[in-house]
Amino acid sequence: MSRTADINIKDNHIGETIGQFLKKILESDEVAAVLTPHRPAEKDMIMPRFITDPEHLQGAEPLSPAFAVNSARLVSRLTRQSPGGTIAALLRPCEIRAFVELVKLNQGSTENLIIIGTDCPGALQNADFFAFAEKHGDKATARFLETAFSDDQASAEDLQIAPACRACTQPTPEGADLAIGLFGLQPGPKIQVYAQTERGEVLLEKLGLEEAQADEKHQSAAEDLISRRSQARQEMIEQTRAATDTMEKLADYFSRCINCYNCRTACPVCYCRECVFATDVFDHEPVQYMKWAGRRGSVKMPTDTLFFHLTRMAHISTACVGCGQCANVCPSNIPLAELFISVAEQTQSAFSYQAGKSIDEQPPLAVFQEDEFQEIVGIENGS
């Protein structure tokens, strides 16, 4: 049905092969620029790069284990008005989901965009990646990919992918115009590209790749992975709930929090232009602290820590896509992804909503129905 093409892997380099594919796309008339993870020559760090000159695709690192930012925010910047040409963005599945959430909030548009998604082998947490990159330099991605598609996904160094990735049950790029299939095909001599939308069909056709049959190994390998992940996810959620099921435990969970708000900055779906916690509402008068302390004899400083996190849960848990960026940037190593994923699972199911799933589905707090949730109204149903 939908158009499929095989891409043969050159010299065992999947990354380079996908890089070549991006080059072909950028050289076509269909696309004016490409956004892709990229490693500058002689450098260790891999960051997204916005590229108009195909030569600059040298150094593209499409499947690197680095995940320093969720690119949804960047794509949002690139598309909130017409950029004057079509952009192809190579994104992880959780980046696509986050972008879908931003589009619903009018913070981005798919109009001049082609999303190329990859099956995601997971990513390393920043700290792990930095150490890994230091050791392996330009070979880091290749080293990571040696074992990334094996069953237990332990890398050569026994590095584990990030907790959020281990619990990710949506590792295939739903919502992409073109999906790059790796599961079940890697390690192996080829990968596949699937057109998932009209726009994807057109592009794939223009690229002149030979049509192929979708390999069923891909589908079944994805399903296997997802079922293993679901189990890991459930375990993670249960542990996290047990660790936070009272306010006291929640306060302990955040006892190391320094209110730096990095988690908010890194979160792709924390959507407010100005965060209330950054306003003078929270520049309390000194007497306020006196009052707080006076009430019980003392107060933990800085204050407002749980207020911040609970508010963030209220604001974005229905939009949380489980990317783990919050945990990635926490200087205090608080297991934030675990907690936000656990809370998100509950709030999204309360509204039968799945963040990032469909662009047409309105965010739960933006809509209502007249005859819903009657059971929470009234105080008759005793305590």
Binding site: T246, A251, L306, F307, Q369, F373, G382
Partner: protein
């Protein structure tokens, strides 16, 4: 028996209905418990989730949001939006041990002075049964 626990309950009440009902209860000399601290808002649709979270973190034992009956909201659908936010918080807070029934939503019309007084009494009884807010003891903010 130990001393009776005296809960503190914050009630965000809509100016056009529940607040008017409280006024009516007053002028009709229908008392309601002093445990209730009324906060008048223009519509339940403006009760931000932050207000409720803050109230619990400051140690209140219960929060009520009360507005116009469906169809009667002066801003068309503020009460329906409020109901979604209540659903959201009733999903989040219990995960951390703040019992769902500490957070209540009712519709009380402007002429329902009696319903207002009765509801407040029942609410206080229910929260009393739940005991103090677990966040209160520790001054967690």
């Amino acid at each position: 028996m130990e001393e009776q626990f005296d809960p503190v309950i914050v009630a965000f009440v809509c100016n056009w209905c529940t607040y008017t009902a409280s006024d009516l209860a007053g002028t009709s000399r229908l008392g309601y418990p002093k445990n209730i601290r009324l906060i008048r808002v223009m519509c339940t649709g403006m009760v931000d989730t932050q207000y409720i979270i803050k109230a619990f973190l400051e140690g209140v034992d219960g929060v009520l949001v009360s507005g116009c009956h469906p169809g009667d909201c002066h801003y068309i659908n503020g009460n329906f939006k409020a109901r979604r936010r209540m659903k959201l918080l009733k999903t989040i807070l219990p995960q951390f041990g703040i019992e769902e029934n500490r957070l209540r939503l009712t519709w009380i019309g402007a002429s329902d002075g009696i319903a207002f007084a009765e509801t407040m009494q029942r609410l206080v009884d229910q929260i009393r049964e739940l005991g103090p807010n677990p966040a209160r003891a520790q001054q967690i903010i």
